[in-house]
Amino acid sequence: MQKTMIASAALTLLLATTSLAQAETLKFLTWQLTEDTYGPWWEAVIAKFEETHPGDTVEATQIARQDFADTMMTQFAGGSPPDIVHLASFEYQPFAANGWLEDLGPWIEKAGLDLDGWAGQNLCTWEATTRCINLQYFAYIMGVNTALLEEAGLDVPKGWDEFIAAARALTKDVDGDGITDIYGTGLHLASGNNYINDMLNFVLDAGGSWTTPDGKPAFDTPEMVVAIDHWATLIREGLVPADTTGGDARQLFVEGKVAMRIENPGLAGVIETSASEEMKPNLTLVASPFDPPVGGASAIIGIPSEIPDERKQKVWDFIAIATSPEMQELFSEIVGAPAPRPGSVTEAVLASTPEYGLVVEAMEKAAAAGVDRVPVGLETHYNELASIVREEIQRMIIENRTAEDTAAVLQERVSALQ
């Protein structure tokens, strides 16, 4: 009896020790953990991983969006990258170029993951290899304040001419104190790459693009001159609040101080959580007035190339869970926007909110037009491109330059990047 007890205890101890030795904690840094929409989805993915990998845990850490690329770069450069690599789709390229991301091709093949029709996945191809899996693809829609539109006797604008007319009519100094109280629209005018993301609405509508299909800068085309002129008109005429970030513009929209805001589908959630009960009925989502709408991959997931193989396997297991049909359907349900896996939007989800169909339609339009925010050929210069474009538009407005001159300078400066 005593021998049996000792043997049992020894076996238990051995199993426990073995289990402890194999148990690992995967480090995961993200900027989405505390977001109302993405946070619960990540929690569900982590819970599923921990349930299927007894003893293993995922240590998720929230990092502010504005510090995220710096933090990740510092961790990679210091030789201690997080196990699960989560990056914005426009910032992963320098990491791939530096050889820090695992080629996922063999993992995808081994797991039999079908990426045909996976929205935004082409962005993850780096030097003919797959360095990531796209986790989000969205297209822009527009939020409008219907009360202000009705008061001005306007319909929801379609196209540039109606949009600028509406912006002019809706910009008002209500109390006559010399200060504008309501702006026609709001743009991201602060530093950062949201500047060119917002501007891309006008570029695409004018028929332009940052680069040609083979990756050469295309700033001096007639279409780009028109786009630059449209963008600058909104700023010059004071139809947008000055120096705002996209977040500021969104907040002003839900407060009724900006009448129209072209945004990603996350605007629906912001209206729900931030708008007052009196304001909510006035705020409606409609299709973007511009065609095609801005769209693109938003966030990717990958594996660091320098971690041990057994850890890579666990990270792949995590990725497999995140990209599974179950979790992709959950994403579409929780986030309020379609997940990139084809067929992840169920009929029930589609019927859940009136604007869901709008979001899906915008996404399909953008995807069909091959739109992505990250310009081909300038993937590793995305931040610098944003900085140059913003600086030259500022110079255009300060020095009263023409759109043609600005387009020419932009062409020269951007060409020098390559």
């Binding site: 690329a69 710096d70 770069m73 990679f76 450069a77 210091g78 030789g79 320098p94 170029a97 530096n98 104190d177 010399g178 200060i179 504008t180 702006y183 602060a190 530093s191 609040p241 000055a242 120096d243 705002t244 101080k257 590793t380 210069h381 931040n383 610098e384 900085s387 913003r390 600086e391 500022q394 110079r395 407005i397 300060i398």
Partner: protein, 318 residues
Amino acid sequence: MSELSQSRTAVAAPRRSSGLFGIDLASPKHANKLGYLLLAPAALLILAILVYPMLLAIDISFHDVKFATLSFGASEYTLANYQKLFSSPDFWNAIRVTGQLLLVVTTISMAVGMGTALLVNQQFRGRSFARMLIALPWAIPEVVAVVTWVWILDASFGVLNWILIKIGLVGGPVSWFSSPGTAFSAVTMVMVWKGYPFISIMILAGLQSIPEEYYQAAKVDGANVFQRFFWVTIPCIAPVLGVTLILTVLWVFRDFSIIYVLTGGGPVGATETLAIMTYEEAFNFFRMGYASSIGVVTLIICAVISAFLVKKTSHAIY
């Protein structure tokens, strides 16, 4: 052996101890060794957190790399970063902006700091409250204070524009961050607001150390208030002024958060200092080698300015 002799043996034993590594550190002969030993932890810490990163940055500046690693000589040595830097108009613009900011902010901050210190050095009711008010901007965390200033200076909904329009000083809202002149003024104003309390506190401490007898003697000699200020106050607080000037210059030179939060270095590079340029190149454009070369040049300029000021201010004492 008696008890007494046993006791003497016991007491004498530690004195014959060979000490650390056989060295009797209590001996006057080895007093300097003890000093070095006690300093060693601090010196090693400084080597680890200051000297090593500095050497690494210098090393990286001689490599044409986008991303840095923590090892020396990871790729081929080159002067490409420095060649690019010295031929870049952006770099010379950053030097000019840094110089202008240094001159304007330091001058105004020193003047305001001196004025407020002289004010709260006088006897009046509510002096303690006034001293607290003067020190307040210094106590507020920099980023918190600057974000508040961003709201105050907001072109569309900021309170400053509202006040200026209400009292009729301007006809319409001023876009503080949209034109080079107003952006530079806004940065200067916030830096002075944030920086003058430190100067004020330092000078106040200096003023309080001046013996009252000096002023009484000057009065007896017929010196008026300005003569007493220039011939008693200034010479007596000259060492304090010197140290404060060096610290203020270095603060303005390396300050990043105020400018970054307010303007990000814009518009069109009007507020882009060397610190902002270094950050942009390193963490926005991921050009670590180039950013390190800017950092190295900044370090050299700071060292030269500090050496010059230390030399100058060390002579300005009676």
